[in-house]
């Protein structure tokens, strides 16, 4: 049994039927991690012993005729900002390493475990989730499984890379400005950034309280929906979590898309995009029917507003640590946080007001379109250490420009299924399928249709 090749659905089905033991799956996953992870660097903490113990509990449930859960025996990982009982939540930092271990699991970790999933470890990220490359000064860079000279993307880099490399079947990450959609694009896996407020963040280390989203990664849409369904539901521990009932997506994702109206975002979402990124959007759009281009007005300004809110609110969160331990920050995050402490309050207030304006502009588009399409990233993954990149011939700094197309969308909390395509260079690149608020099932349905049509896939095509 190779957990790197098997689907989460397939593993869970066999474990539930007693055809395969969760312990065997877990040992195979841990062996794979031992072999492949040294070259990839996807984990800050591995939980081998706990994983085996958890797998034995799942196997005992099966033997006793109990329901072991929909994710029985499925190896999973979580970004290192989710609390895991007995583990220090690092959030990619050196400073938090002095904290005591978490006393309880984050709500979503608890839900994964209750569903029978086996937690293999905590995954690498940019320090305090402030980055798009997972090149971490304290814990090293995470390498892209499809080309280890390239970044995995960030900030949920370890989460995406370990799914791509088959170290786990499902990961959970977070997305404040693109941190699920960017590594999904670079690593060639599916990612779901749900509507802001859909999934509770209780027990996770925050970054920007009114932009932080959590969501899953997987190698198929069915596995993505399975994971999403297992973790849905309100929790009062997160004040931003909407009081909405779970709206299960697994069955809905298999429905047809007859009559779907898809719009391709132009303007800001095309400027700077590489030929590969534009080609990926074109292939998705053509797979969904006639291509209609549409403008989401002021997207550049929305990105700027998200940039300012992030820098300022993130700086306010880390203010005490900036004053007391400035030398212990990753230089890549430190200078930006310091800059954020100096941003006038007027900018922040204007940015928040503009957010309302922009949300109305997007709502207008959704009166005419069911989903909107845009690249996840301007190009394929850059090289590790690459300081600049080309945006249609213009040289720009790499790190701040990776999230150009994701930031305006998370700014207003829209749900996105990030789907992978493959370029002629043999590298993946992602497309965002964007829905109106609370329509996760719709974006997953479109993603599943594209997957069935062979247009999107986490599997690199055989040359």
């Amino acid at each position: 049994m190779n957990p790197g090749a098997a689907s989460a659905l397939g593993i869970a089905a066999r474990v539930r039927r007693g055809e395969l033991s969760a312990e065997a799956v877990t040992r195979a996953a841990l062996d794979r991690v031992e072999t492949l992870n040294p070259a990839l660097n996807c984990f800050t903490t591995l939980l081998n012993r706990n994983a085996i113990e958890s797998a034995r509990i799942v196997d005992a449930r099966v033997l006793n005729g109990e329901d072991p859960g929909p994710l029985a025996g499925v190896p999973v990982g979580v970004k290192d900002l989710f609390d895991v009982e007995g583990v220090v939540t690092l959030a990619g930092s050196k400073i938090l390493a002095d904290n005591p271990p978490a006393g309880t699991d984050a709500v979503l970790v608890r839900r994964l475990r209750r569903a029978g999933a086996i937690l293999i470890g905590c995954q690498t990220m940019d320090e305090f989730a402030y980055g798009f490359t997972t090149e971490n000064a304290h814990y090293g860079a995470t390498h892209n499984p499809h080309d280890t000279t390239r970044v995995a993307g960030g900030s949920s880099g370890g989460s995406a890379a370990s799914v791509a490399a088959g170290l786990v079947s499902i990961s959970l990450g977070s997305d404040t400005n693109g941190s699920i959609r960017v590594p999904s694009s670079y690593c060639g896996v599916f990612g779901l950034k749900p509507t802001f407020g859909r999934l509770p963040r209780t027990g996770t280390f925050p970054f920007v309280h009114d932009l932080d989203h959590l969501g899953p990664f997987a190698r198929s849409v069915a596995d993505l929906a399975l994971a999403y369904d297992a973790i849905q539901g309100h929790d009062p521990g997160d004040p931003a979590c909407a009081q909405r009932p779970a709206e299960y997506a697994s069955a809905a994702a298999q429905e047809d898309i007859d009559g779907l109206r898809a719009g391709v975002l132009d303007g800001w979402f095309e400027e700077g995009a590489s030929d590969d990124a534009l080609d990926a959007v074109r292939r998705v759009a053509e797979g969904l029917g006639p291509v209609t281009k549409v403008t989401l007005p002021e997207a550049k300004r929305a990105r700027a507003a998200a940039f300012c809110i992030t820098c300022s609110t993130g700086a306010a969160l880390h203010y005490e640590r900036l004053k007391s331990r400035p030398h212990d920050f990753d230089p890549a995050t430190r200078d930006r946080f310091f800059a954020g402490t100096l941003l006038p309050a007027t900018v922040l207030a204007r940015a928040q007001r503009f957010r309302r304006w922009f949300a109305h502009a997007a709502a207008d588009l959704f009166r005419k379109f069911d989903v909107l399409l845009a690249p996840s990233t301007p190009d394929v993954a850059p090289l590790i250490g690459q300081k600049t990149m080309q945006l249609r011939g213009v040289e720009v700094p790499t790190r701040p420009n990776i999230g150009l197309y994701t930031q305006p969308i998370s700014f207003i909390g829209l749900p996105v299924a990030a789907v992978p395509l493959w370029t002629s260079r043999g590298l993946p690149i992602g497309v965002q399928i964007i829905g109106p608020p609370w329509e996760e099932a719709r974006v997953l349905r479109v993603a599943a249709y594209l997957e069935r049509a062979g247009i999107v896939s986490s599997k690199k095509p055989i040359a």
Binding site: F196, G197, D210, P239, A240, E298, K300, R301, R303, A304, A305, F307, C308, C311, L322, K323, P326, H327, P331, R334, D335, R336, F338, A339, G340, T341, L342, L343, P344, T346, V347, A349, R350, A351, Q352, R353, F354, R355, R356, W357, A359, P400, I412
Partner: protein
Amino acid sequence: MSEQDQCVAELVKLFGVDIPKEFREGVAAQLASLFAQAELVTSFPLPDETEPAPVFTP
């Protein structure tokens, strides 16, 4: 001292944020980038009735 460094030094005095001297050049570069984005935000004419999008619920 460059104009940017001077700007950071003035802001540090104004806001009371003690940014170690060895980091100020890097912070100045980030600040220039941040203020360019801030200009895009503040230059947009919003109707007075446009309220922010808070999520806080007591």
